[in-house]
């Protein structure tokens, strides 16, 4: 059997007791949630109605500027993309028509 000095055993027991006590305190002091109406009413009383929603523009100037610039660039990007599609479709249609005309002319020439 391993020999233990009495003071060492005492220290171990003290540490165990304190850990146990700590866990009891942790379990006892559970956070409580204040009533929602109380929190809401007090906020109203202090600052009034919220002015901005989470999705509104931020206050900081450079962030607002970056957001606006991003919006403008995206808008022109979309317009440019749309125009390119339209031009491409027109070009495709014109190309087809020219080919059809060319084909029909070739057929006529052969027939002649």
């Amino acid at each position: 059997m391993k020999f233990e000095w009495p003071w060492k055993r005492q220290k171990i027991t003290l540490e165990t007791d304190l850990k146990l006590l700590e866990s009891k305190l942790e379990a006892f002091f559970q956070p409580v949630t204040p009533r929602v109406e109380f929190v809401k009413n007090l906020r109203l009383e202090l600052v009034g109605k919220p002015k901005r929603s989470r999705f509104s523009l931020p206050e900081v100037k450079w962030q607002r500027a970056a957001l606006l610039a991003g919006g403008i660039v995206s808008f022109f990007g979309l317009v440019f993309g749309g125009l390119r599609i339209v031009v491409a479709v027109i070009a495709l249609l014109q190309g087809n028509r020219k080919r059809i005309v060319k084909d029909s002319m070739a057929k006529e020439a052969i027939a002649v």
Partner: protein, 196 residues
């Protein structure tokens, strides 16, 4: 975006009269301050009353707030601490209720119809905590309810981190000795009672 605003920035804006900035700080700390006061007063009604007084006072003094390196949260806790101390003093004069005996444990507060019966152990622990000096009670609440670090507790209580650590250790030993002196065979800590 506003939710990412630091306390210092929100405070600076609040000091310039931006009430919404103060609202951000309010949203951040109302729960913690309420918890602190709730455990110091022991009932919902006074906790709500004192919490509203803390924030009203804070809002009033925000324009004259001086940054002395103390976080905003510590400032709020100090206001709360002072108000609770006044509340205790007033109540002890009036002697209407015996303080802290009225503590409703979490859960019982929100659903009165399903009142949680306070267990023998909780009752025992509550009596032990009640016997502690005020600063030690404050320390336990800040540590276990508001989950503040020793450094943060030090800022609130005006002590160093080391002093808080030491005070906490001494508090635990006091509680443990109290358990032993009250009843060696008490099952609370399941101590062997053979030493100490």
């Amino acid at each position: 975006m506003d939710l990412e605003l630091s306390d210092a920035d929100a405070l600076a804006r609040a000091a310039q009269g931006d009430s919404e900035a103060f609202g951000i700080l309010y949203d951040r700390y109302v729960g913690r301050i309420y918890n602190y006061i709730y455990y110091r007063t022991g009932n919902q009604h006074d906790a709500e009353d004192l919490t509203s007084r803390v924030f009203t006072r804070a809002m009033k003094h925000v324009p004259t707030y001086e940054d002395r390196g103390l976080p905003f949260s510590a400032w709020l806790y100090r206001i709360a601490h002072n108000l609770v101390a006044n509340w205790h003093r007033d109540n002890s004069r009036r002697q209407i209720v015996e303080l802290d005996d009225s503590i409703q444990l979490p859960g019982s507060q929100l659903q009165p119809e399903s009142l949680v019966v306070r267990t023998e152990q909780e009752e025992f622990l509550l009596n032990l905590v009640k016997k502690l000096p005020e600063d030690r009670q404050q320390l336990l609440i800040l540590k276990f309810v508001d989950h503040l670090s020793n450094a943060e507790i030090g800022e609130v209580m005006g002590k160093t981190e080391g002093a808080i650590k030491s005070l906490y250790h001494r508090t635990l030993i006091t509680l443990r000795d109290e358990v032993k002196s009250m009843n060696l065979n008490h099952p609370f800590l399941e101590m062997d009672g053979s030493e100490g």
